[in-house]
Structures are given as C-alpha cells and as structure tokens.
C-alpha cells in the first residue's frame, strides 16, 4: 500500500504562485497620514504586508490581489486604491 496523500499544506507566501495577477486596483499608502497602527497588516488576507524598520506598512505587490480590505480597514484613510494601468 502506498502512503496516503493528504490535502494539507504549510501556509506561506507564494505556496500557490503569485496572487497578484488578477489585481485591477492597487493600495497606495500615504505615509504622512499613517499612524503605524498595523491594522492593514493584520486584516490583509494575503502575505502582502511587511512592516519596515520604522514601523510603517509596506505592500508587497507580488502577493497583493487588490481586494481593498486594507483600504476599508485603515482608520485614518491613509490608503488609497489606484487603478492599474
């Protein structure tokens, strides 16, 4: 008998390839307004946020699918959704 194959995977960035290919709007963060609360990082359903050394969120556009959740959640409206070309 062969080993059973389970439909399980280790969660991680890029496990199924890039998740950015169907994005039609991208989030752009206005760092002048940003309070570094981290909610965008917390709510993003993809591994699309990094917090940089100064504590600001940085979007990794290879994984950002453009869902706009971060834009919705940002309490100070520091995120704008900009149409892709």
């Amino acid at each position: 008998m062969s080993k059973v194959l389970y439909p399980v995977s280790k969660p991680g960035a890029g496990a199924v390839g890039k998740t950015s290919t169907w994005r039609w709007q991208r989030p752009v963060i206005n760092l002048d307004k940003c309070t570094k609360c981290g909610l965008c990082w917390l709510y993003c359903p993809e591994p699309a946020f990094e917090i940089n050394e100064e504590g600001y969120p940085v979007v990794k556009y290879d994984w950002c699918k453009g869902c706009g959740i971060c834009y919705n959640e940002c309490p100070v409206n520091a995120i704008e959704m900009v149409n892709e070309e």
Binding site: V4, L5, Y6
Partner: protein, 396 residues
C-alpha cells in the same frame, strides 16, 4: 450497564448500530435528526446521559453542519460518528466529499430512504448511491446483526493509516432500522481488543505543527489526491477482507466474503440484490431450488470498493444473472446492473445480464417478484437491452 460479556438482545437495526458505536467508544457525534435514522443518535444521546458513553454530542442546525463538525473533530484526531438519510444525506453532500478527499476516518450510517418529491420516508437505495463516486467505503447490511458487526469493522478499516477513508454503512429504512431481531453483541473488552487504539489516529490539525487543510494547491496536486485515493480504495479490499476474517474468528460470523453467496455453486441463474430485499431473494432461491431450478443469489455486502474478483468468482459458470436494483441511474439503468455489466465486459464473461429495477420509494419487494422475473427471463419475454421496471408484481 456496560456490556461485560457477550449478550443477545432483541434490537432494531438502529439500536444495534447505536450499541456498536457506543462500544467503539467514539469521542464526537455531531448529529441532526432525520427519519428513519433518528433513533440511532437518540439512543446514543441516552447512552451519554446515562454515563455509558463518554462522547460529545454536538447538536447542529443542519446535516451540512453535522458533517462540517465531523470533519473538524476527525481532523483533530477524534473518533467521530454520525448518521443520516435521504434528504439529510443530500444536504450533507458537499461535506461528505470533503471528508473523503481530506482522508478523514469518519464512520457514518446511511439508513436508506427514497428522495422526494413527492415526500416519502420509505426505503430505496438512491440516497446511498449518490456517494458511490465520492471516496467513501460503502457497506450495505441486510439485517440488524450485520449493521452491528459492520459498524465495529468500519472503525478499524477507516482508521488504518494506509487507508484513511471514511466508511459508510447502509441499510434499509424501516425494514431494518425499525424492526427488531436478535442481535449478538460482543463484550466490551472484546471490542476494545478488536479496535485500534484511538490515540493512533493521525490528527491533521496539530497546533504545535500547523497545517492548512484544503488550501488552493496546483491542479496537479488535486489530480494526485484523487489518484492516491484510488490506490487506497483498491488496496483496501485486502484489508477489509482481513478485518472480516478476524471478525469471523472472533464471532463465527463470516465477513471475509465481501459478497454473500447463497447457493451459487452449481447455479445457472444468479440473482443479485443488496440490503433487506436480499433476504427475499434467498427465500425465492429456496423455493425455486425445491422445484429443481438451479438458482443462486449474491448479496453485495461491499458496494465500494467494488468487490470485482469475488463477483467474478460467484458468477462462476452461470449462464444468466438477474440484477434487481432498488436504485436507478436516470437515463442509464439500474445501478447494481451498471456496476456489474462493466465487470462482465472487462473480463469478457460469457453471461446474459438482465436489468430489473424494483422497490423504488419503498414499494414492497417479495420473493414472488424474484420468481416472476426468473420465469419471465426463461420465457424470453425481455429484450436484454432494456431496463425493466417491476412494481408490486407488475411491469410498469
């Protein structure tokens, strides 16, 4: 009272099943009522209330949720059981496939019942056959004793680390679920020795080593998941026989044979049927034999994986097979027939096969129906390419 020594009790099929589930010491039972399955989980609830079973009964709001909860519990490594019928099975359907693809060793009873409309609570086998392609190992019991025995074996088969497939035990609503017969039960320590240690169930959900179940992988991985399941299904046959044989050594009741052959040895004509009506088929065989006809009956105890070798072996040198299906694939034929005809073709068996659909929606099937079909087959009144519908002794 826990069962300290072997005991024979008069039980309905549903209560026999509940006793087996209790003796298997299941951990979790997510359940939602539907006739004619309900008295299984009611009895289990009673066992829990009386302190005979240390399990969590999860009362959910639908069958879909019942199977979702079963998936979660089984993924966490709990021994998990549920039961349903008919529309409940259909409502559970999506998650039944989920359980199979995720390779979760859930055991479930499917008390067969027709699907409406019009509303109908009586037995036919349409509901359980909706699962035939899913990856569930499927048994069909033909009396309460088999319901009890197969339920215990089911846990052992499902939890084998090389199989890891959910197992369903089917039996006819009312004919078996609600009528009472003597059922011999094993002592608790015999059951404990027969079943594997529950702690050996590999949990898919492990907080110290987190995985995601069912994430979106590359398509080829899905393909391989199904192919891998195919391999486990095929190789499970040997293990199912082994467990059946072990059970035989324990009880004297033979489950090593996946096809229950009755007077097939020198038969020129063999009936095929499953579940409660197989008993009528065997009565018909006795009656025809007493008049000198060489007939036999085979009852498939295992529906999936299909016990192909044993079916071929049972057919032997028979000239004709009369397949009596209590379920029909619309636009194709009786489901037991379509299963069998493929075996006949692939193995180039030289045998005529007749496709008879009976007993839909719980319409009674009796020995006389088998005998009538047999006589009409001998008289050559059927076109072999046709699917014949026999209802209450009349062709319709």
């Amino acid at each position: 009272m826990s069962i300290t020594s072997r005991v024979k009790k008069v039980l309905t099929g549903n209560h026999a099943t509940a006793y087996a589930v209790m003796q298997a010491r299941v951990d979790v039972i997510p359940a939602y009522p539907i006739t004619p399955q309900t008295t299984i989980v009611e009895k289990l609830d009673e066992f829990i209330e009386n302190g005979l079973l240390d399990a969590s009964m999860i009362r959910v709001e639908s069958e879909h949720s019942a199977m979702a909860a079963a998936i979660g519990a089984s993924a966490a490594g709990a021994r998990t059981y549920t039961a349903t019928s008919s529309h409940g099975l259909l409502y559970m359907y999506e998650n039944l496939w989920w359980a199979a693809n995720a390779r979760l060793p859930i055991v479930a009873t499917f008390v067969t019942r027709a699907i409406g409309p019009p509303w109908n609570i009586w037995s036919d086998h349409q509901d359980i056959f909706t699962l035939r392609d899913s990856g569930w190992i499927l048994f069909m019991a033909k009396n309460a004793q088999e319901a009890y025995d197969l339920t215990l074996q089911a846990f052992k088969i499902a939890e084998n680390p090389n199989i890891r497939l959910p197992v369903g035990i089917g039996y006819d609503g009312f004919y078996i679920s609600h009528t009472s017969e003597p059922v011999e039960m094993l002592a608790q320590d015999e059951v404990d020795a027969f079943l594997p240690d529950k702690r050996s169930i590999k949990p898919l959900l492990d907080p110290s080593n987190p995985y995601t179940i069912g994430n979106l992988p590359e398509a080829s991985f899905n393909f391989l998941i199904r192919k891998n399941m195919w391999g486990s299904m095929e190789s499970s046959i040997d293990y199912i026989k082994k467990v059946g044989y072990e059970y035989y050594l324990l009880t004297g009741r033979n489950y090593g044979d996946l096809v229950d052959k009755y007077r097939c040895e020198d038969a020129d004509t063999i009936f095929v049927s499953i579940g409660a009506m197989a008993n009528e088929g065997m009565v018909a065989v006795d009656r025809l034999r007493s008049k000198g006809h060489k007939v036999g009956h085979m009852a498939l105890r295992l529906l999936r994986p299909y016990p192909e070798d044993e079916v071929i072996d049972s057919i032997g040198n028979a000239e004709r097979i009369i397949v009596m299906s209590r379920a029909v694939s619309m636009g194709k034929g009786g489901i037991l027939f379509t299963d069998l005809i493929d075996v006949v073709y692939r193995n180039r068996l030289n045998v005529d096969v007749y496709d008879i659909v009976v007993g839909l929606a719980g319409v009674e099937v009796v020995d006389n129906d088998f005998i009538k079909v047999y006589n009409d087959v001998l008289d050559g009144i059927f076109d072999k390419r046709e699917t014949i519908f026999l209802m209450g002794g009349k062709y319709v």
